[in-house]
């Protein structure tokens, strides 16, 4: 009750940017997904912070965060399945080497 909202928001922004860096700068496809997870978590922090600081009686924030959990889980599952499938085919998980969908 003594933490200003901005602290949470800035923290979320920072985690989001770190996650963005991870997506853009990591070679391994799984590492990219790790970055995506960071970004999703940052989003969740934002959602829950706003829920608490706006109107805790209105559960929209938390509901949204729950849905985000579900979506993140689904996305990770499918993504990793894809990566494993690609690994089986191309023997590589380096994102730069998976470039068959080029011109």
């Amino acid at each position: 009750m003594t933490i200003p909202l901005s602290w949470y928001l800035i923290l979320a922004a920072a985690i989001f940017c770190i996650g963005l860096y991870g997506v853009l700068a990591r070679r391994n496809a799984i590492a990219i997904l790790l970055g995506v997870e960071l970004m999703l978590n940052a989003v969740n922090i934002n959602l829950v912070a706003f829920w608490r600081y706006q109107d805790p009686a209105m559960m929209t924030g938390q509901a949204f965060a729950v849905i985000v959990f579900a979506v993140a889980a689904a996305e990770v599952a499918v993504g990793l399945a894809l990566i494993i499938s690609v690994y089986r085919r191309r023997m590589t998980v380096v994102a730069d080497e998976i470039d068959l969908m080029k011109w």
Partner: protein
């Protein structure tokens, strides 16, 4: 500086440090483990925000399922349990600059928001967060539809993931 703030700061610092380690670690498995640490920290944050249910769900789902899944994937996508080559792209400075810029922009925007430094109102007496959340999720004039769709999404993802990663399948 109240105790709450100190706790928050420590947690935030830990989260940030672990997040940096996630993206900067030279070993992928370490990255995955650092993610686990980050997720823990986020759970603590939820607790501080008095969203206890979410904190528990975070630990169970994120750490217990997703992070484990990551670690499995890491293990399944290498012939030997060693990392090959650099883990960061050659032109990493560009995303770094980008990140810094976006962070700066976001911070700027945040600070420009009206009443951004406000403190939260106290929770009402006898506020049962879990009960209210559950009711919201299943009541027709609240969020039952997204809830159900999300469950179908999970089903589709389940089926898809099994199909995609199924062994013996010709890719």
């Amino acid at each position: 500086m109240t105790a709450e703030q100190i706790v928050f700061l420590l947690t935030a610092g830990a989260i940030l440090a672990c997040a940096v380690m996630v993206v900067a670690s030279g070993k992928l498995l370490h990255s995955a483990l650092w993610l686990v640490a980050v997720l823990f920290g986020v759970a603590v944050l939820y607790a501080i925000l008095q969203a206890g249910f979410l904190a528990v769900v975070q630990v169970v789902v994120y750490i217990g399922a997703i992070a484990i899944l990551f670690i499995f994937a890491v293990m399944l996508t290498r012939r030997e349990l060693r990392d090959h080559g650099p883990q960061t792209r050659a032109a990493w400075w560009l995303p770094a600059t980008l990140g810094v810029l976006i962070l700066a922009g976001l911070v700027f925007l945040i600070l420009g928001m009206p009443a951004v430094n406000r403190l939260p109102a106290a929770l009402p007496e006898g506020f049962d967060g879990v009960r209210v959340l559950g009711t919201t999720l299943v009541s027709p004039d609240a969020f039952v539809l997204p809830f159900e769709v999300a469950s179908i999404l999970l089903l589709a993802a389940l089926v898809g993931a099994i199909y995609l990663a199924g062994s013996g399948r010709k890719a």
